[in-house]
């Protein structure tokens, strides 16, 4: 979603232009650049603001997105399905909950021809330890020590923590023979990247760069596109008109603007997370479950999702599970897959249990004070704002006085962390790891008093039962056991409402079948359609070139 957001910012103009487009009923047609050959893919993945810096350091926040096509992890975790793909490791095992044994793939070479070995893995992990500013995933919070032999790397954890394995496994691996000479990995710009991935840097210019297929890639026969072109400016109109093969961008009226622009254009917008309202659980009356139930039942989530995401995203279930793609993880005993329908009478009954009654058009307590609250969302996140306004309208309809506060993104983030709000709009879940989805939402490890910055559990949910389940999950080696714990965590989410889920946040995949087919889709949801992070490696090795006719 980050990519969407940045694109929304930079293409704020294009949004207005797209409205003009709809208003004028001018059908924009895609006109691909005839100089781009059939074996070359035009990708809107990287966004220069507005020019590219030649930074391919995979550990820096401002790296070029194609760094993900150069450097590979041991395992790729798909966030839509939660499925793990063995990558530079052929697999991993946990002989006990604090030991992870990765089996390293044989026959992989770096793009300069050097063999990839277990030493590279050990070197990379230690590099992150010695330069904490590069350890953005915080894997050294968990690791105690590392050992290796010719084929395996064994990671010892400080504490039993089964879910930490998938986090450590997604670290991007760099070559020891090059990076051992890097003086300061925390500010190194790595202008000529050498990785194990399917693509190497081709031509670099500040407005556009190209990636060329690495012929020695360990699954080179699966890579259909010989070249990738990544322009710096990908406004929505550019994407619609210039014959892009793959883009990650929210487009208004996608059927007309994108699909209508080219015969082969398709899209898939699977959920990438859940957008929810975070109540401040340290505050009266939001710490009252009856009030939260009333608020939850008063909502027509479908209408909120429609207002926010133009009908492209469905209402979210209250379980934190992305449906239908994570159906296997869903507790079947939860009614209606966790979807909560609007029921105003039940809502008013819940409010009444909490001492609030409807008088005229105001919901008041015994002292005659109206239930009033403020929802905080970030300035400029227009989709969230539309969703919040719909919530405001719906809660207003049951007599609640709702105001909306929209600080700048940085101030919004601070407000969320400090817990100085009534309700805050936020994203949750969608990491692909059931444990991390629940842990960040409910773990008491993150508890901080209001006024102090929390890094997670912003709503300040303090439930020892939930924490006990999370602790159990960390040591559970058995899949069935983990599934059962997952069910119980969903029950807590569903019954105790630590946050009120609204609708799914989208992954905005736009693809064209003109030159390449085999894109992930609703029918074949093998990986997220996003163009950043490691899942594109799955997509790039699954496509097939369309025969030239």
């Amino acid at each position: 979603m980050m990519q969407t957001r940045r694109r929304l910012f930079t293409a704020a103009g294009a949004v207005v232009a797209a409205v003009t487009l709809a208003a004028c009923s001018i059908q924009i047609q895609s006109a691909p650049d005839p100089s781009i050959p059939r074996d070359t893919m035009l990708v809107a993945a990287d966004n220069g603001s507005p020019m590219f810096e030649r930074n391919f350091n995979p550990y820096l926040a401002n790296k070029r997105v194609a760094s993900f096509y150069v450097y590979e992890p041991l395992v790729i975790l798909d966030n839509v399905t939660g499925e793990e793909f063995p990558w530079l490791a052929t697999g991993y095992e946990l002989p006990d909950p604090s030991t992870i044994v990765f089996t390293i793939r044989d026959g992989v070479t770096w793009q300069d021809g050097e063999p990839f070995t277990t030493d590279d893995v050990v070197f990379t992990l230690e590099l992150l330890r010695d330069n904490p500013e590069t350890d953005t995933q915080g894997i050294w919070e968990y690791i105690e020590s590392i050992e290796s032999d010719d084929t395996t790397v064994t990671v010892k954890l400080q504490n039993p923590d089964v879910p930490a394995a998938s986090l450590i496994a997604t670290t991007l691996i760099v070559p020891e023979h090059i990076w051992k000479d890097v003086e300061d990995p925390g500010s190194f710009r790595n202008p000529d990247p050498v990785g194990t991935g399917p693509y190497q840097l081709g031509n670099f210019a500040p407005q556009q760069y190209t990636m060329d297929k690495y012929d020695g890639y360990w699954q080179a026969d699966k890579v259909a596109a010989e070249h990738l072109i990544l322009p710096a400016n990908n406004t929505q109109l550019d994407v619609a008109t210039k014959g892009y093969d793959w883009a990650y961008s929210f487009i208004s009226d996608v059927d007309n603007v994108w699909v209508g622009a080219g015969n082969d254009n398709t899209y898939w917008f699977p959920p990438g997370g859940t957008i929810a309202l975070f109540p401040n659980l340290t505050k009266e009356p939001f710490n009252n479950l009856d009030v939260r139930q009333g608020l939850s039942l008063a909502l027509d989530r479908g209408a909120v999702g429609d207002a926010a995401a133009e009908g492209y995203m469905d209402e979210a279930g209250q379980t934190n599970i992305l449906l239908p793609y994570q159906q296997d993880d869903l507790d079947p005993s939860i009614p209606n897959s966790g979807l909560i329908a609007q029921d105003t009478d039940a809502a008013l009954a819940a409010f009444e249990r909490a001492g609030y009654t409807l008088q005229g058009d105001r919901l008041v307590n015994a002292a005659g004070e109206q239930l009033s609250l403020t929802i905080t969302t970030a300035n400029g996140y227009t989709d969230w704002l539309r969703g919040v306004q719909e919530v405001q309208r719906q809660w207003g309809a049951v007599g609640i006085d709702v105001s909306v506060d929209t600080p700048q993104p940085a101030a919004y983030q601070l407000t969320l962390r400090n817990g100085e709000y009534d309700f805050a709009m936020g994203g949750t879940g969608g990491t692909g790891s059931l444990f991390r989805d629940f842990n960040s939402l409910m773990s008491t490890d993150f508890l901080k008093p209001v006024g102090e910055e929390a890094t997670n559990n912003f709503e300040r949910y303090d439930n020892p039962d939930a924490q006990a389940l999370l602790d159990q999950y960390k040591v559970a080696l058995d899949d069935d056991e983990r599934t059962q714990i997952g069910y119980q965590l969903q029950q807590i989410m569903y019954n105790d409402l630590p946050v009120i889920s609204l609708y799914y946040g989208g992954s905005w995949g736009l693809m064209s079948n003109a030159k390449f087919t085999g894109w992930p889709s609703a029918e074949d949801p093998y990986a997220s359609p996003k163009t950043y992070e490691s899942t594109p490696l799955i997509v790039l090795t699954s496509l097939e070139a369309v025969a030239d006719d």
Binding site: V16, T20, P50, L60, G138, E141, A232, T235, R417
Partner: protein, 352 residues
């Protein structure tokens, strides 16, 4: 013609007659202006330091806000980002002293948003595009607009008056970005006449070659046209409206009565005196060049200072923001200073 002394010439003659007395006066005037300049500069530099720090949330929060949209952010991520960004240390006063030192050395450190690029790198790549695009267009718009204004006033009531005046008023009433979007949509996407984004072609590399120059020029046409269309009207109206009363002044009537060529009367007599207010606006417009192009650069994805500023502000990028605000303040101050001095030269009454 030789036998007649007209008013403006008389004024010039007087200036040279009493040269010595007035020169002392002029030096005092310049000194006063310099003193004021330094004081304003200090105030601007200080406000520049304080304002970003009054914004709620830190640069790390801004970076985290971006990351958090992808999913939960761990404690370690926040710590790593804070180390990567090298956030300011020390209390506010120490930061202020360090900042003043930086300003003097023109060293603004590393940008948070575009880490690990330095502010100097960023500004030096962005500034030429803005200076050339907005700078040249502002000068061209001023010259064309002022001349059209003179013409309109001189040919009052004819089509040479109504057409530029009405047209200018109409075009300048459009919001900047709306004109930009219309141009972008029609000339860029529907008719496909001009490129829609960037300062040069996607595969070109900036260099001092003819090919690159042509490419860059081609890419700058739509943004340039936007600025021209929206600013021309102001210059035309401004010039026309001060020109008309001037045309009724005695010395103009006198010059006309003496049979001078209309072009000479219009330009040398009337326009020269009427141009002062427009010159002030021009100075301000020039000063605003650096910061005044945010929306246009935004719409056209033009890699100039405006776009950089937008990114800096939305990401709470103190070092970049401070450098850019300082540049904007400085250019406005310098432009004002020059206009002040020019005023003193053009109109001796100002120096008193």
């Amino acid at each position: 013609m030789t036998s007649v002394t007209v008013a403006p010439r008389g004024a010039e003659a007087k200036t040279t007659d009493a040269g010595s007395r007035r020169r002392g006066n002029a030096a005092g005037y310049v000194l006063r202006k310099i003193g004021l300049f330094v004081l304003t500069l200090w105030a601007a530099v200080t406000i520049n330091f304080i304002l970003p720090r009054l914004m709620p949330g830190s640069p790390a929060d801004a970076a985290l806000a971006r990351l958090a949209q992808n999913g939960p952010v761990s404690e370690a991520t926040k710590a790593a980002i804070e180390v990567q960004l090298g956030l300011p240390s020390g209390n506010l006063f120490e930061q202020y002293i360090a900042y003043l030192g930086q300003v003097v050395r023109l060293d603004f450190g590393v940008s948070y948003t575009f880490y690990p690029q330095t502010v100097a790198e960023l500004v030096s790549t962005a500034l030429p595009y803005t200076l050339v695009l907005v700078g040249v267009v502002t000068i061209v718009a001023f010259i064309i607009g002022t001349l059209l204004g003179v013409l309109a006033a001189w040919k009052r009531g004819t089509w040479l008056d109504t057409l530029p005046t009405l047209g200018g008023a109409f075009a300048s009433a459009f919001p900047y970005f709306w004109t930009a979007l219309l141009l972008l949509f029609f000339a860029g996407y529907v008719w496909r006449l001009f490129p829609t984004s960037g300062a040069y072609g996607p595969t070109a590399t900036p260099s001092f070659t003819w090919d690159f120059f042509v490419d860059a020029l081609y890419h700058s046409i739509l943004p340039a046209l936007t600025i021209l269309i929206t600013s021309l009207g102001g210059w035309i109206l401004g010039m026309r409206n001060t020109m008309i009363p001037t045309l009724g002044d005695d010395y103009v009537t006198f010059a006309e009565a003496n049979g001078l060529k209309p072009r000479v009367v219009a330009l040398r007599y009337a326009a020269r005196n009427a141009i002062l207010p427009n010159l002030t606006s021009f100075g301000l417009a020039l000063g605003g060049v650096v910061g005044g192009s945010i929306l246009v650069e935004q719409v056209f994805g033009y890699p100039g200072v405006g776009y950089l500023l937008f990114n800096a502000v939305t990401n709470q990028d103190y070092p970049l923001m401070q450098a850019l605000f300082l540049m904007i303040t400085l250019s406005v101050l310098v432009a004002n200073f020059i206009v002040d001095i020019l005023y003193g030269v053009l109109d001796p009454r100002t120096r008193r």
